[in-house]
Symmetry: C2
Subunit: 289 residues, 2 copies
């Protein structure tokens, strides 16, 4: 049998993977064939559209470098990354919600003392004091837990996106170790909402489909306590205008932090405040694992 109608063609391709040694790989490939074929059949995809897709995928692959991953960005804006996150965290049991790591984590950060200003060179951003705590699911504080923190500056860029990152080093990026009460705190600036990179094929798609490229302002956290599931997440600033339309669909209600404007002359640790500042409060609850 070599003459295929559309259904027989799909069956023949599925069958061609029958001898795949790894059963999970076999399942994933055979389901992929069915999905792709179903898509082509039901849309009646034309040659021109197929050619467009081939070219788009090729350009997406060729846009990738050591420091840029355009295929992850594509997965992000199609909501696939957050869906993979969701299907792998179906049962949270009250633990803090997860999100994707994102492209701006650069590996373990440098341990920094509580209260440190991690954006000392950023003179235009509004000042923010972050107070946080790490507990288990019953509220028991977890001590000595390393917490990596990173966020964009008030131009919407991460330190690692800048040309002079190698000389200047980390900014708005640090590691804190929780105290005996599970607490840590630090100073920084209010992060900004920022656009995903729009100079590649993915950005082109966002523009052509009249979506906006913005992510609401957030701070990334990676909380890694012994005996608990590592928590990768980010926490959003209450009131941001993009909370309901994050271009990568990363916002979850539980991940929006209270951020209050304050004008007390002292910050919570007794340090002096210079004019208006913001107080961000958030607690992390870890799941055993």
């Amino acid at each position: 049998m070599t003459q295929f109608n559309e259904t027989e063609l799909t069956e023949a391709v599925v069958k061609s993977f029958d001898n795949t040694p790894d059963p999970r790989a076999k399942f994933l490939l055979q389901e992929l064939v069915k999905s792709l074929h179903d898509y082509v059949s039901k849309t009646g995809l034309t040659f021109e559209e197929w050619e467009y897709a081939i070219d788009f995928l090729t350009r997406t692959g060729q846009k990738c470098t050591d420091t840029r991953q355009e295929f992850i960005l594509l997965s992000d804006v199609l909501g696939v990354s957050m869906l993979v996150d969701a299907v792998n965290h179906r049962d949270r049991d009250g633990a803090t919600q997860t999100t994707v790591l994102g492209p701006f984590y650069v590996g373990e950060h440098k341990v920094t003392a509580h209260g440190t200003d991690i954006s000392p060179n950023n003179l235009t951003g509004e000042r923010m004091f972050v107070q946080s705590r790490v507990t288990d699911l019953h509220g028991k504080p977890l001590a000595n837990v390393p917490v990596d923190v990173w966020h964009a500056d008030d131009d919407g860029f991460y330190d690692s996106q800048k040309a002079n990152y190698d000389e200047v080093g980390a900014s708005a990026r640090a590691r804190f170790i929780t105290d005996s009460d599970g607490r840590f705190f630090f100073r920084t600036i209010l992060p900004c909402s920022y656009p995903i990179p729009t100079d590649g094929p993915v950005g082109e798609m966002i523009v052509q489909t009249k979506r906006h490229p913005m992510r609401p302002a957030h701070v990334h956290f990676l909380v890694n306590a012994k005996g608990y599931e590592p928590l990768i997440t980010h926490v959003f600033m209450e009131g941001d205008k993009y909370l309901d339309s994050d271009v990568v669909f990363g916002v979850k209600d539980d991940l929006v932090a209270k951020v209050e404007p304050r004008n007390e002359p002292e910050m919570p640790d007794g340090g002096k405040a210079n004019g208006q500042w913001h107080l961000m409060s958030y607690e992390f609850h870890l799941k055993p694992g």
Copy 2:
């Protein structure tokens, strides 16, 4: 609403494309989102599998050059290319079946006289005489029709794959113009079955899934008559052992040509034969368009 369960997440992503100006693009993107999300949900795709997919797609894009298209190859071995061909040629009305153009067409060929040996430098291949005819759906001969022909040599390579192609020029590649009876004929060698390139991510997948990389021996034809649908196809050699398992699913029963071993001292045009030769016969039937 920002807190998504899996279904709500899919709906939110679909909705994000609601303002796409082009209605067909909107439809294709929204169906793509549904297909991708359905795949992730039903397979319960893990992070490691998602990362593998991102890396595979990236490497596929980066393997592409001016002369190599690894994403088309991926589409081919997943049967997607032939399915796109099928959904765009649902109604053949007795016209010759179509296939994909393939990566070795290099643009309009040089017009060559009937009877010419188009593989004169290939001394090891078995000799073949090809006799063919172009008609409409009622058998009426079509005269003055340009027919581009190309095939692999007896090592399984096309002329254009060779490093010295620029100096040596076309081999087993030519254009013939049909005579008043719609006929054309030429000499060449019997083409070989050949493997798709296996030094990239697609070849890696073929090896890991225990598929073979072979295409059954064939000759490509592009028949372009005024007033008729251009016909892109290839014609396979009767008896090839890969006819039932073409790695790119391109074989159709109607495209298998009669190829007979002969030992008459003269070929059909009266030219002298040197020992055994093969006679390949095939007719093309074009659809108005």
